[in-house]
């Protein structure tokens, strides 16, 4: 068998080197590549290797915006890069909070660290990895990546009913999962995913192409809009204050927010596959990485969008609570606490920086207390 394969390999190699004579009515060529072709391939590979070496250097990467990893998601690459910088700077990112835009604007790592220190007297480094439009499925995919690459000592998942709702297309909830690099990291092999994972040149190829065409916006770090929105710890502080958050939506209000919530919540039910994704995150708890599940605060006005008002929302809490206790994961609810003041909201479900500070301080204190009681080991290597 093996000698047969060797023979085939040798024959294939011979065919490649010597070529064959093709003789149809029109095409009359010898297929053997000449010296020029071999040299071109060799020089191209050398050039690519040299460029890869340059692309891996910090001095090359620093002035550029983070690569998007093949994603159409505007935040993913940026947050990954911020996380990289924080990991490099601190040596270890102790905790990472994952979730949707509610986490992105609602979790202030600095306030969390303060609340934690109040309870334990110890410093901790946290990062906000909330991604717009993320659902339980994409959060699970990102959880796997951050655990493999950054080894955090604590994983916090901010959850809300939208994580399990039937998806609608705008914004595309699968945008993170469709990212070739994310898909590759979940075990779905694609050439692009492999290249993105292994080659820095490939990651930065788009930047170079855009720079060569004088497109500096979103290519140079100093010109990137996101750079002014996100803090280095991943948090997106918002300063707007909403006044309508406790009221039902106005009849005939066709704003994106109202239409969006109406579409996903009016006949709310939870997708089993998204609940499975949540369970896959919870299973990390069994491998020694503490996982905490936190209900992201929502305003009273959000209940008006559910077909069955509070009972739909309670169904979400009950189901997630059941899974949490099944996997021995802490599930901290915020709804009964009602600690976010009316000036702490941007809209029905997003906190502004005032709300984020209150919520995050509370969360830090909770984690500190849980650690003190020996329920979790967030800050112990």
């Amino acid at each position: 068998m093996s000698s047969g394969l060797d023979l085939l390999t040798r024959q294939g190699l011979r065919l490649l080197l010597r070529g064959v004579r093709l003789k149809s009515a029109t095409l009359q060529i010898r297929t053997a590549p000449g010296k020029t072709v071999w040299l071109t391939v060799l020089l191209f590979l050398l050039l690519t290797a040299a460029a890869e070496w340059v692309a891996r250097s910090e001095s090359f990467q620093v002035p550029l915006t983070p690569p998007k990893m093949g994603s159409r998601h505007y935040q993913l690459g940026h947050k990954l890069a911020l996380l990289n910088v924080l990991a490099r700077k601190t040596g270890q990112v102790d905790c990472i909070m994952l979730g949707s835009s509610m986490v992105d604007t609602g979790f202030d790592p600095a306030a969390f660290e303060t609340g934690y220190k109040e309870m334990t007297g110890r410093d901790i480094h946290c990062f906000n990895f909330g991604i717009d439009a993320s659902t339980a499925a994409s959060t699970a995919a990102l959880a796997r990546i951050v655990i493999e690459d950054y080894h955090p000592r604590l994983l916090i998942i901010g959850t809300d009913p939208r994580d399990y709702a039937v998806p609608i297309n705008d914004p595309d909830p699968a945008v993170v999962l469709k990212t070739p690099w994310v898909a590759y990291r979940q075990g779905n092999f694609t050439l692009e995913g492999w290249l993105l994972d292994h080659s820095y040149l490939y990651r930065y190829r788009q930047h170079l192409g855009r720079l060569a065409r004088f497109q500096f916006e979103d290519t140079l770090w100093s010109n990137t809009k996101l750079n002014f929105e996100n803090l280095p710890n991943g948090f997106t502080p918002l300063s707007e204050i909403s006044t309508y958050i406790n009221d039902p939506p106005e009849p005939g209000d066709n704003s994106f927010e109202v239409t969006y919530y109406t579409r996903i919540y009016s006949s709310y039910h939870m997708l089993p596959e998204n609940l499975k994704s949540l369970e896959s995150i919870m299973k990390y708890n069994e491998t020694g990485i503490p996982v905490i599940l936190v209900e992201m605060p929502v305003s009273d006005g959000l209940y008006y969008f559910f077909g069955n008002r509070e009972s739909d929302y309670d169904r979400f809490l009950t189901r997630v609570g059941e899974l949490a206790s099944l996997h021995h994961v802490a599930f901290w609810r915020t709804e009964p606490l009602d600690f976010i003041p009316d000036n702490g909201w941007v809209d029905y479900s997003h906190l502004n920086k005032t709300g984020a500070e209150i919520f995050s301080t509370w969360l830090g204190q909770q984690v500190g207390e849980a650690e003190h009681q020996g329920n979790i080991k967030a800050n112990q290597p």
């Binding site: 149809s24 009515a25 029109t26 095409l27 009359q28 060529i29 010898r30 000449g34 010296k35 020029t36 072709v37 071999w38 040299l39 071109t40 060799l42 020089l43 191209f44 050398l46 050039l47 690519t48 460029a51 190829r205 788009q206 170079l208 192409g209 855009r210 060569a212 065409r213 004088f214 497109q215």
Partner: protein, 476 residues
Amino acid sequence: MTITSLNFFIFTALALAIYYLLPRRPQNIWLLFVSYVFLVSWDWTFAAVLGLVTSINFLLALRLRINDQGRRGLLWFGISLNVLTLIFFRGAGFFLPELEAMLASLGLSTQAGGLQILVPLGLSYYILQAISYLVDVYRCQLKAESDFVNFGLYLSYFPKLLAGPIERARAFLPKLAQPRLVDNRVIAQSVMLIFVGLVRKLIIADTLTASFLSDVFKIPQKYSPLELVVWLVIYAFAIYNDFAGYTDIVRGISGFFGIELSRNFWAPYFSRNFTEFWKRWHITLSEWLRDYIYFPLHRVLSRYKTGYGKLANLILPPLITMLVSGLWHGFYLNLLVWGGLQGLYLIVERIPAFWRPIVPPQHQPLWRQGLGMVVVFILVILAWAPFRWELPAALQLWEALLNWSDVVIRYRRMLIVLPLLLGSLLLDFIQYWSDDEFIFLKWPPLAKATCMAIVLFWIFILTAGNFEQPFVYQGF
């Protein structure tokens, strides 16, 4: 499906794979089919218009000569029909708003967005080919093609469909009747053409085009005279490399099918006079204009030997020819001015012919040749102003060029792209000096391989920028 896209590459590869398996006659049927599929990939109505134009011209040509007598009326009918088709589609932008206003005044409102007519892709090119075919048949320079497939392919052959070269039926149709041979030499030449074309288009032209600031074409007076000169020079090289690159690529692709297409450019910015410039710039269009507009006009006016007749013969043929060229590029006043200016250059150049024979540039002293190149280049780039800028902006640009009080360059990108201009000149110079388009094939393997590796690497980078510039001449 643009010709630098991956889709086009796959499409061509599939077309070739089947093409090589077929004998000659089915090869033509296959190519005709593939060409129409290519057109339908843009819009099916484009294919319908081309099919109609092809059928009408095919039938007309068969009836153009009866008992060895040309039917002049039928020829003019055919020419008029083709010209009117061109005017109808290209002029739609002018008459549709008028028509809409008229309908509205009659209480007949159109749908939201108004009336719209898409200009069929490649129309300006295949209409010229159809006219030349009818004239050649009428003049007995060509026998009317009796094979509809061959004639259909002459007008629709996909590598030249979008923007030429404008082939003559008398040169192209015999190629379709012959068996084709694609050997290693042809492959090497085709690959070289494609490489050179990609360098011109993706590396030089697209980068130069991207360097333009958005308001350069709207408010030229914002820039210093020196900057305007640099923008003009950049534009001159951008449009040249864009179109020359396109032609090289399609000629290379056609080479793989064993069908040689005409050269369209030959180092035009090394021209020593304007007559030479038009022998080097968009050669197939220039030759078409020469053979079907300039020469007929010249012949008619040559009958008048008096002073005024001679003067008319000096002025009218080049002027009318270049005005038609301007109109062919678009029904806009600025393009008419561009054509008029080019006509004027040719007229002025011919004035000395009144009192002494014209010495061909290659027989002139070197300093005269060099001076000629500089003068032609300067005047040609000045004429690019109304070609690209709308007329008021072009006039402002020319006006601003007269005021040299502010001699600065504030935009670094203008300086960054200057090496590309040198690259373009070097590419031309190497071919021009050796008088061999395929000179690069004679280079040592290491030199060829180094160039190809660098080009491949650079294209690998550039194609990631999501920056796809359409070919400028595809718009005509």
